[in-house]
Structures are given as structure tokens and as C-alpha cells.
């Protein structure tokens, strides 16, 4: 156990280092982008004087490195600062959006992870059967459709032709819980179709990979049923790669859903970040990047801990 604690501590230290470097890269990136927030917000109506006045008002006339260290100091003291564009507290702005993003991710994960694992185990069990092939073709087709297109098809089927779900996930923090669940079902379903194939194929492959191992042959020779061999003997040992791919997909559900947010008009963090990048609202971009990067670091850590916990050999090293 102490070994895990040590690893966690080490990974946290590395995680902070990663966050620091990410913040530097994002900062430099935004600085390198042509145009700044004053020009982007004033848009076509920007004139040299108004832009200059706007810059002074926002404090953009201060040298870049000083602005960065100001930001860093604030961040270390738990102050994310305010949005340059509309002076809103970033913690409040992002808190709301991140809550929404997590809500959608959890809903999508609650559908897709059990589904993918079940489909994967069944595909391994009945490998090379018609079922195996059919599941393969369907899931592969669904991931090869661009996300927005999957969304349009689902909207056409489930809200235009058969009006079961609303076509936009228009929620606010005042929306009651179950209504929220109902409204995000369609985006969650879209995301499910997008991620399920990857997880399902990895589950199938990881299990099949073990089937040639001597202990599986042994189990087969003992006359155990195929289902029992796979679920009781193969699956536990295949968990590590499966957990890994599940975690990658969970991270995707949180970090990579901008397009689905746009199509379903869902007020999540991705949309906020894209908006802020295009308007060069640096503090908001930084804060969102920190949250995304932090999520990624934590999920990775979780995957490693789970892999160790599911593998006695790693848990009790010689």
C-alpha cells in the first residue's frame, strides 16, 4: 500500500509540473496568436484609438511576463481572476460550465461503459460469429461518422421524426435533476456512439489476447463453460488495458466534446474555451486549460492505481 501512496505523491508532484508547463504553453500560444482581445471583441468596428483605449482598460499594455506572473501568483493563491471580456469572476463562470460538462460526461459514461464492456465480453465469447461481426461493423461505422453528423442523424430520428427527445439540451442551473437527465440523453447517446467502439474493441482484444495462455487452456481442459472461463478467468487479467482505454475515453468525454456542445446548444466548458480562445480572453482560457489538464492528470493517476489494485503482482512486488 505504501508503494501506492509513494506513487501518488510522486505523480501529484509531476502533475503540478505538467500544469505549470501547460499554462506556459497556453500563455505563449495566446500571445503568439495574431490579434488580441481588444481587436477581437471590437471586431470589424475596431479602430486604432478604440483598440488602444480598450487595451489600457484591460491592462494589456503591461509586458507579457509580468502579466503571466501576476496570473500565476493569483492562481497559486486560489484566485482565477476575472474574464477580460466581461469582468465576470472566472471561478463562478467556470464552476457552472464545468458542472454541466461533468454532468453530461457522467451520463454518457453511465450508458457507454457498461454497454461497451458487455458488448466486448460477448464479442469475445462468441468471436467470429455473426453477432461478433455485426457488432463490429455497427460500432466501427458509428465511430467513423463525424460527431456532428451522428448528432444530426439522432436528432432527425429521435426528435424530428419521432418526437421523443428535445433537439437542444437547453438547461440552466434551475432545471430539476430528472428533467436535466432527460434533456441531456440525446447528447449523451451521441457521445455513447462515438466512444463505445473503442472501448468495446479493446475489451474484446484484451480478452482474446489471453485465450492462448496456458492457464486459460487449463481452465478449458477442466471443462468449464466458455462464459465462465472468459468472465472469471480471462476478464480479471485483461482489466488493466481495459481500464486504460476506458479512462482515455472518460477523459475524452470531459475534454473533447466541443462539437456536441455546439450542436446541442449545451453550455459546457469546451464551448467556453473555444469562445475564449477566439476572443483571446486569456485568463478564461488558462483556467479552462488548467481544469482540463488537471482532469487528465487525475484520470491517468486513477487508471494507474486501478491497474495496480486489479493486479496482485503489481500490488505486492517481489
Amino acid at each position: 500500500m505504501s508503494q501506492i501512496l509513494k506513487m501518488v505523491a510522486q505523480r501529484f508532484a509531476l502533475g503540478f509540473l505538467t500544469l505549470f508547463v501547460v499554462s506556459l504553453i497556453i500563455f505563449l500560444g495566446i500571445e503568439l496568436l495574431p490579434g488580441d482581445i481588444a481587436e477581437e471583441i471590437l471586431g470589424q468596428s475596431a479602430t486604432p484609438e478604440t483598440v488602444a483605449a480598450f487595451r489600457t482598460e484591460l491592462g494589456l499594455d503591461v509586458p507579457a511576463h509580468i502579466r503571466y506572473f501576476d496570473w500565476l501568483w493569483g492562481m497559486l493563491n486560489g484566485d482565477m481572476g476575472r474574464s477580460l471580456a466581461n469582468k465576470r469572476e472566472i471561478s463562478e463562470l467556470i464552476g457552472l460550465r464545468f458542472g454541466n460538462t461533468l454532468f453530461l460526461a457522467v451520463t454518457a459514461a453511465a450508458i457507454s461503459v457498461p454497454l461497451a464492456l458487455t458488448l466486448g465480453v460477448l464479442a469475445a465469447l462468441y468471436r467470429h460469429s455473426f453477432y461478433d461481426r455485426a457488432v463490429n461493423v455497427v460500432t466501427l461505422s458509428s465511430i467513423s461518422f463525424p460527431e456532428f453528423f451522428v448528432a444530426y442523424i439522432l436528432i432527425f430520428l429521435l426528435s424530428v421524426t419521432f418526437p421523443i427527445f428535445p433537439s437542444i439540451a437547453n438547461i440552466s442551473d434551475a432545471t430539476p435533476f430528472w428533467e436535466k437527465v432527460y434533456k441531456v440523453l440525446l447528447p449523451a447517446l451521441t457521445l455513447t456512439l462515438v466512444v463505445v467502439a473503442h472501448m468495446m474493441r479493446m475489451t474484446r482484444a484484451a480478452i482474446i489476447n489471453l485465450l492462448a495462455s496456458p492457464y486459460i487452456e487449463m481452465a478449458n481442459l477442466k471443462g468449464l463453460s466458455r462464459a465462465r472461463v472468459i468472465v472469471k478467468h480471462a476478464l480479471p487479467n485483461a482489466l488493466a488495458p481495459i481500464i486504460n482505454v476506458v479512462v482515455i475515453n472518460l477523459a475524452y468525454l470531459i475534454v473533447g466534446v466541443v462539437v456536441v456542445e455546439v450542436v446541442f446548444v449545451y453550455p459546457g466548458l469546451g464551448q467556453l474555451m473555444v469562445d475564449s480562445v477566439s476572443k483571446r480572453d486569456l485568463p478564461v482560457v488558462q483556467a479552462s486549460a488548467m481544469i482540463f489538464a488537471g482532469t487528465y492528470v487525475l484520470l491517468n493517476l486513477l487508471a494507474d492505481i486501478l491497474s495496480i489494485l486489479t493486479n496482485p503482482r503489481l500490488l505486492h512486488p517481489r
Partner: protein, 527 residues
């Protein structure tokens, strides 16, 4: 706004003529169910209901600060919560709104605005001259970032004459000043110690701000003390940002929203067939342009400019890019809806031979001309550029379409690259449009064009009160821009938007902006 017929401007004749011309502006409802609206039943707005409008703009970086308003969402928010000194009506004429009436001195240099006495802000404060002055001053001065700054540069001084009159003196006469001072940026907010709070949502408008989440939605409830008793019919209004086109149309057809702006021109014929949907269209001032930098080679050569102007098939652009929802342009920015649109000016046609002739004269044989475009300029801009390339090829002119990123288009491409795609929302008056983008040295003179005769006429026409003389001058100016200017104006685009048939729009809609001049929340109701 029937109470304002006392309107005592020396420009009365102008305004009524504008009214006559502009009457064709609103094409009104074009869907099948429109007969219900046009029937004999008297037009009767129903009170109450919750209006949900899907708007194609809106970003998380928007705010309530009027200095930065620039998109269709902030405009709608503006007209839902705030009022202005005047408002543009369905004929294209400016009518007093917070003002009761206005008067100009004979040289059009001094304007006095009499204010209404019965107007209350959402916080209970009564409207006074000081609020008007503070709201205007916010956009003036050295350190303002406001987009209306250059517009107000002509204001020399402002003073209150009692609590209910504002007198504004201009640097030079401007017969169109009531239009200028009613610009959407100049929303009237309550002042405290001579300053307004730009971030506050308190106005005098038909609805009171309840909650605003930039880039997501705004909700507002009826202003019970609204000074226009016959306007603002809904109980509450919700403006939802829906940027994705398909999402917006789906939301309308599935009843998630009651109305939307920016219908997809590619599929508008399919949208019209949907049950319970009205598609509407207004002709405005919006035009798509392709400005060339006349201060840099090769576009400093007018022969090349003429060659390019002759080498585009405008009819096809209107047909393919606008799907017929617009009219061809004549290489000047004055819309057919504008008062002094030069009808007599011959329409420039697609003529590869003439283009070849001018191109040869320019001595640029064999050179490739680059045209920068991105859909940020206008929807279909890249397609339009590709079509342009195909058309020009027939005249032996080789155009290379440079696709630019949408992100940062206005800061990196527009007014930077030699020739690019661009759009103008247009202006309700000739002077405003020309002053903004064609006067020598103007901030947004995107062709960097200088023409002495043109600039002379501009000043003369601005202070001229005789409308016949103005017309002659504006006609000549349009001709000069068309034949010498650096801009290709292939088309004027209509505003195409849609609402559910449960919504009763105005009988005649204003065309100054989309959605009845963005005043739908005030002017429309449930049927």
C-alpha cells in the same frame, strides 16, 4: 408610436418621401399560412406568453457594455432592454423614441431634442436630460473603446436645457443627425454623478433583465411601467444563443424555440414546407463586398479594378450564394431601399470581353490575382470566391482563392490583404455609409480610396437640406464609387428568418436590422 406626429424637423419632406420609398422594404410573411395574417381580421396583438428566440450569435465573451456590442445577439438584447433617442420604423424613417420631438437649426448644426416626461428606468428613476448626455458621453472622449466613437466625433458640445431638453452642437451641419444619435450603441442607461454604469442591465426598455449568461441565454420579464402602452406584449422573453444552423432549425421545427434568425439559404425551401413555420424576409442595407486596397499594387490600377468588376457574374452569385434572397449590386454601397439610390445608373453586367479589354490595358497579362476569403466575411464567402474565380477564368484572368481562417479574420485579413471578401450591415443614410467606409482617411475606408471630387460632394451633401440637390450629389457619388472605387459589390442580401405560426409579427417590418430591426420582443406578440 402614434403620439409623435408633432415631429417638427425641417426635414419633414425628406422623411415622408423616405416613407414612401421604404414602404416596399418589408416583404412581410411569405409562407403559405400568411393569409391568416393578411386576412380581414384587425391586427390584434395578444398579451402574455413566454417568447423563446434562437439567435445565431452570442459568445461567452459578450457583455452588457454597449461600447462592445456588435453582433446579432447583443443587438437583440439591446432592443429588448433599452431604448434610444429615436427608432427606425418600417419605412426606414427615424421616429422619436425617448425624445418627443427634435428640431434643427437651418444650417443643421444645432439640434435640440425634447424628451418624453413619462419615462421611467427599471430601477424607478425618471429619465432626465443628464441620463441622455451621460449615455452619449460614454462613447466619446480620448479613452473610450466604443465602436460609436468615430460616429460621435462630429459632436462639438452637448448641454441640458432644463430636465427635458438636450441641445447638441455639431462641428458641421448634418441633416441626418437623428439617425446617427439613434445608433444602437447609444442605449440610454441611468446616470449617477454624470456617468453611466456600462455593465448594468438597467434601461427603459420593454423588458426588465432577469438573468444573463453570456453566450448561453438571457431572460427578461415584462416592464409593467413601459412608456409605450401598446408595445412589449410578452410576459417574458428568453434569447438563446444557437450558433449551429441545423440545431437552430431543428429547435424551431420541434417547438423548442418560437422564432429564429438567419435561416439557412441552402435549405430554406425545405424549411418553408415544414408545418407551423413561417419564413420571413426583409430587404435591408446589408451588402457583401470585395474591397481592394487601392493604395497598393496591383489594385492601384483602375483598369484592373474595372476588369475585375466586369469579370463576375452577379446574377449567378445572387442565385447560388443567396439562393435568390437578394439583389445584384452595382459596385457601390447604396441599397435600393436607401432614399437616394441611383436608379438611373446602368447596372454593371458580366462581360468577359470588356474584362479582357481592361485587363490588357492594365498591362498585367499573366499575373495571378489573389482573393482572400473566409466564411467569417459572410456565409458562402469562400464559395463566392470560388465562383468568382471560375467566372474570371473565362475572361483570361487568373484568380487564386486564398482561404483564410475564420478566427481573427477582421484583424488579420480585412484591410490587410490586397483583396478580400467582406460584408457591411449597411447604414440607413447615404452620408453615414459613405462617411464610414469611403471618405478619405476614414477608419474603415477598407479600400484606402481617395477621390477629391467624391470627398467634396460628401461634405456638401451632408449639410444640404434641399433634397433635390442632395439627390443629384448622391447620384454622382454613387457613379464615382462604381466606376473608380476599389470595391466590388456583387450583391445585397435580404434578411431571412423564421418563426412558428403561433407568433404574430408586425404587419410591416423594419429592415434596418434582421428580425424587424431586432425589435421583435417589443413589436411582436403571440397570435
Amino acid at each position: 408610436m402614434k403620439s409623435n406626429n408633432k415631429f417638427t424637423s425641417p426635414l419633414n419632406a425628406d422623411v415622408s418621401r423616405r416613407g414612401f420609398l421604404g414602404g416596399t422594404a418589408a416583404l412581410g410573411v411569405t409562407a403559405a399560412s400568411s393569409s391568416a395574417l393578411m386576412g380581414k381580421k384587425a391586427y390584434a396583438a395578444k398579451k402574455g406568453g413566454h417568447l423563446r428566440a434562437g439567435i445565431a450569435h452570442g459568445s461567452t465573451t459578450d457583455s452588457l457594455d454597449p461600447a462592445t456590442w456588435e453582433n446579432g445577439y447583443t443587438l437583440s438584447l439591446d432592443y429588448t432592454l433599452f431604448n434610444h433617442i429615436g427608432e427606425v420604423d418600417h419605412t426606414g424613417a427615424v421616429q422619436p423614441e425617448l425624445a418627443e420631438s427634435w428640431e434643427a437649426s437651418p444650417d443643421a448644426r444645432t439640434w435640440s431634442f425634447k424628451l418624453r416626461k413619462d419615462v421611467e428606468f427599471h430601477n424607478g428613476k425618471t429619465l432626465e436630460a443628464s441620463d441622455i448626455i451621460a449615455s452619449i458621453e460614454y462613447h466619446m472622449g480620448e479613452d473610450t473603446k466604443s465602436a460609436a466613437k468615430s460616429l460621435l466625433a462630429q459632436v462639438k458640445s452637448m448641454k441640458a436645457d432644463g430636465k427635458n431638453e438636450v441641445v447638441i452642437e455639431l462641428e458641421a451641419g448634418n441633416a441626418d443627425f437623428p439617425y446617427v444619435i439613434s445608433d444602437y450603441h447609444i442605449a440610454i442607461k441611468p446616470s449617477k454623478d454624470g456617468k453611466i454604469d456600462p455593465m448594468s442591465g438597467i434601461g427603459t426598455g420593454p423588458y426588465v433583465l432577469e438573468n444573463y449568461e453570456p453566450g448561453v441565454r438571457m431572460t427578461a420579464t415584462k416592464n409593467k411601467n413601459y412608456f409605450k402602452s401598446d408595445r412589449g406584449h410578452f410576459d417574458s422573453v428568453e434569447l438563446i444563443t444557437i450558433i449551429d444552423l441545423a440545431a437552430r432549425q431543428n429547435a424551431l421545427t420541434t417547438g423548442e424555440i418560437d422564432m429564429m434568425d438567419r435561416a439557412d439559404l441552402k435549405t430554406v425551401h425545405l424549411l418553408k414546407r415544414q408545418k407551423g413555420v413561417n419564413v420571413m424576409e426583409t430587404v435591408g442595407y446589408k451588402h457583401y463586398t470585395m474591397p481592394m486596397r487601392t493604395d497598393t499594387a496591383p489594385f492601384d490600377n483602375n483598369e484592373l479594378r474595372l476588369a475585375l468588376k466586369h469579370s463576375v457574374d452577379r446574377e449567378e452569385l445572387v442565385k447560388k450564394i443567396l439562393r435568390g434572397h437578394g439583389v445584384v449590386g452595382n459596385d457601390h454601397p447604396i441599397s435600393p431601399t436607401n432614399q437616394y439610390h441611383a436608379e438611373g445608373l446602368a447596372q454593371r453586367m458580366y462581360d468577359p470581353d470588356k474584362a479582357k479589354f481592361h485587363f490588357k490595358k492594365a498591362g498585367l497579362d499573366g499575373t495571378t490575382i489573389q482573393l482572400s476569403a473566409a466564411d467569417a466575411a459572410f456565409p458562402g464567402a469562400v464559395d463566392a470566391a470560388v465562383l468568382y474565380k471560375e467566372h474570371a477564368a473565362k475572361a483570361g484572368i487568373d484568380i487564386e482563392v486564398v482561404r483564410e481562417p475564420n478566427d481573427g479574420y477582421w484583424s488579420n485579413v480585412w484591410m490587410k490583404k490586397g483583396w478580400c471578401a467582406c460584408y457591411w450591415g449597411g447604414r440607413p443614410t447615404e452620408d453615414w455609409m459613405f462617411t464610414t467606409a469611403y471618405a478619405a482617411g476614414a477608419d474603415w475606408n477598407d479600400t484606402f480610396w481617395k477621390h477629391d471630387r467624391f470627398n467634396e460632394l460628401l461634405l456638401a451633401a451632408r449639410a444640404e437640406l434641399d433634397s433635390d440637390k442632395r439627390r443629384t450629389m448622391y447620384y454622382e457619388m454613387q457613379e464615382i464609387v462604381s466606376n473608380d472605387g476599389g470595391v466590388v459589390v456583387p450583391m445585397f442580401a435580404n434578411y431571412v428568418f423564421a418563426a412558428s405560426d403561433k407568433i404574430l409579427p408586425s404587419e410591416q417590418m423594419a429592415g434596418n436590422w434582421e428580425l424587424d430591426g431586432c425589435k421583435f420582443a417589443e413589436r411582436w406578440s403571440f397570435a
